[in-house]
């Protein structure tokens, strides 16, 4: 029987993009609590208050590298750091993402390309950068290495004035299935699954709600929280730790036969 105590990711190395905030940070904290070494990437400068405070608080097992997920050279730098510091990578969470809302006819080319670049190119480039290393590292792990791509319920169902975000998260969903089949058929020991959060209390969500308030869609952000809660069968939004526990399941040996699948954590939103 598997050891069901803590430390189930002992001797594992993980990388989480967008690791300074929200779901990414919750994943970082959970993986550390389970005994993994974690490299987190984000846009902030290494000397920034947030990066310094976060990494200082997280301790020795955590390290930070500044990286823009849309830039191949930044992924190269992250890979070099992982190679130097650990030489292995078992878990990759392609989490960094952004949002975009508005009527389709009002979306600019730049805004469209920006969200596709961050949400889709970022997942592709992260996978490309680390697949060879993970194929090696995965040989020593039951079920192999694990890539966790953060999609959304908006990658499963459409929503008015969310078309660009829908398109980007739908792309993540099917990119994940493609690589899952590819790795499995080539006997590369890497599993790949997509994670589909519903509405989660994160800085990105709060910023998005504030923009809706600013544009007059709602009077105050709490009204939007109440509206979303009322439309969710479980009657509330998710906490980032509830996504981290799903990411942990996908990172752990318990999901050793799960690849090309979708893990939905949405309080019942897409069931109705």
């Amino acid at each position: 029987m598997t050891d069901l105590g803590s430390q189930r990711l002992k001797d594992r190395v993980a990388l989480v993009s967008g690791g300074l905030r929200g779901i990414g940070l919750a994943c970082v904290e959970r993986f550390l609590a389970e005994g993994a070494d974690v490299v987190l990437t984000d846009l902030d400068a290494p000397g920034s208050t947030l990066a310094e405070e976060t990494v200082g608080r997280l301790g020795q097992a955590a390290s930070y590298v500044q990286a823009n997920v849309t830039k191949a050279e930044d992924w190269d730098r992250a890979r070099n750091l992982v190679a130097e510091r650990h030489g292995i990578l078992h878990i990759l969470v392609n989490n960094a993402g952004t949002d975009l809302t508005g009527p389709v006819e009002s979306l600019t080319d730049e805004a469209w390309r920006r969200i596709m670049s961050i949400n889709v190119d970022g997942v592709f480039m992260g996978t490309r950068a680390f697949a060879p290393m993970m194929a090696e590292s995965g040989k020593d792990v039951k079920g192999g290495a694990s890539i966790i791509n953060v999609s959304s319920i908006m990658g499963l169902v459409g929503m008015s004035e969310v078309s660009a975000y829908n398109a980007s998260k739908g792309a993540v969903r099917l990119f994940t299935k493609g690589i899952a089949i590819e790795f499995a058929e080539k006997k590369m020991p890497i599993r790949a699954n997509s994670l589909h959060p519903g509405f989660v209390v994160t800085p990105l969500l709060k910023e998005g709600f504030q923009r809706w308030v600013d544009s007059g869609v709602a009077e105050k952000a709490q009204d939007l929280v109440d509206m979303v809660s009322a439309k969710t069968p479980m009657g509330r939004l998710a906490d980032p730790t509830e996504l981290a526990s799903a990411a942990f399941f996908l990172a752990s040996e318990d999901s050793s036969y799960m690849t090309g699948a979708e893990l939905v954590v949405d309080g019942g939103w897409t069931a109705q």
């Binding site: 029987m1 299935k177 899952a180 479980m234 699948a261």
Partner: protein
């Protein structure tokens, strides 16, 4: 984290063999008090001896017997936290041209009506839990819900039907302000004793094994304990914001084009 299911009471139908027996073992190992049902008392004895779980002989299709079963569980434990609607059959199944009404009724009765009765009685019990209406209900569907098998029409239909059952029950729980979650698992081919026997008894066991294994791009079948790990996760508070969803664990069998 320790034992994630310490203090929880779990009911597993069809627990005497296969995925059911593996899940009895896993939930018990994580600290749950497990009650399991089935019809094979001899097989049940072995599971009880290995896990310390309690066996109650019970037929999932017997609507009357459900009341007695739940009364027995609640009298002893006073609560129900986890229910795994696992009992299933393909006995009497065939293709659409050849299936008899008896065969159809048997498969639909166990897989579909049996699952409905399990979810119904579990939700009624959980709604009255002493700490408030909480719990996790898991229904064993199959990847065949989405990829039908020509020679198993009733099985394919029943496994698709229970996904709608799960969603309707999850939405009802939300409407009722229950913190009761209902989810479906969709395993691929799992190397249970049933499948092993089918392989051994086939004309060319090696070819049959290979055919099963090649359904997954991973080139192997799932092990019972891998599916049990998914059930354990859904049973635990780790999954406390997931409800009304499908959890596929099939080694990418359904992620791509069928037969490619």
């Amino acid at each position: 984290m320790g034992k994630r299911l310490e203090g929880k009471v779990a009911l597993i139908t069809g627990g005497t063999s296969g995925i059911g027996a593996g899940t009895v073992e896993r939930l018990a190992a994580e600290g749950a008090k497990v009650i399991f049902t089935g019809s094979n008392a001899a097989a049940a004895e072995k599971v009880c001896a290995a896990t310390g779980a309690q066996f109650i002989r019970h037929d999932v299709c017997d609507a009357e017997a459900w009341n007695a079963l739940m009364a027995q569980i609640l009298e002893k434990h006073g609560r129900l936290d986890i229910a795994f609607a696992n009992a299933g059959t393909e006995s009497g199944d065939s293709n659409i041209e050849d299936i008899t009404i008896e065969g159809w009724n048997n498969v639909i009765g166990v897989n579909q009506t049996g699952a409905m009765l399990t979810v119904q009685h579990a939700m009624r019990a959980m709604a009255r839990n002493p700490q408030g209406p909480t719990g996790s209900i898991i229904v064993n569907s199959s990847m065949n819900a989405h990829r039908a098998m020509g020679n198993f029409v009733a099985y394919s239909v029943s496994k698709a039907a229970v996904i709608a059952l799960v969603k309707a029950a999850a939405v009802h729980a939300g409407n009722s302000k229950y913190q009761i979650r209902v989810n479906a698992i969709l395993p691929g081919v799992v190397e249970t004793a049933l499948i092993s026997n089918l392989i051994e008894k086939s004309e060319d066991p090696a070819a049959t094994r290979s055919a099963y294994e090649s359904l997954s791009p991973m080139g192997r079948m799932a092990k019972v304990e891998e599916i049990a790990g998914l059930v354990a996760w859904l049973s635990s508070d780790e999954a406390k914001f997931s409800s009304g969803s499908e959890f596929t664990m099939d080694g990418a069998s359904t992620a791509g084009m069928n037969g490619v």
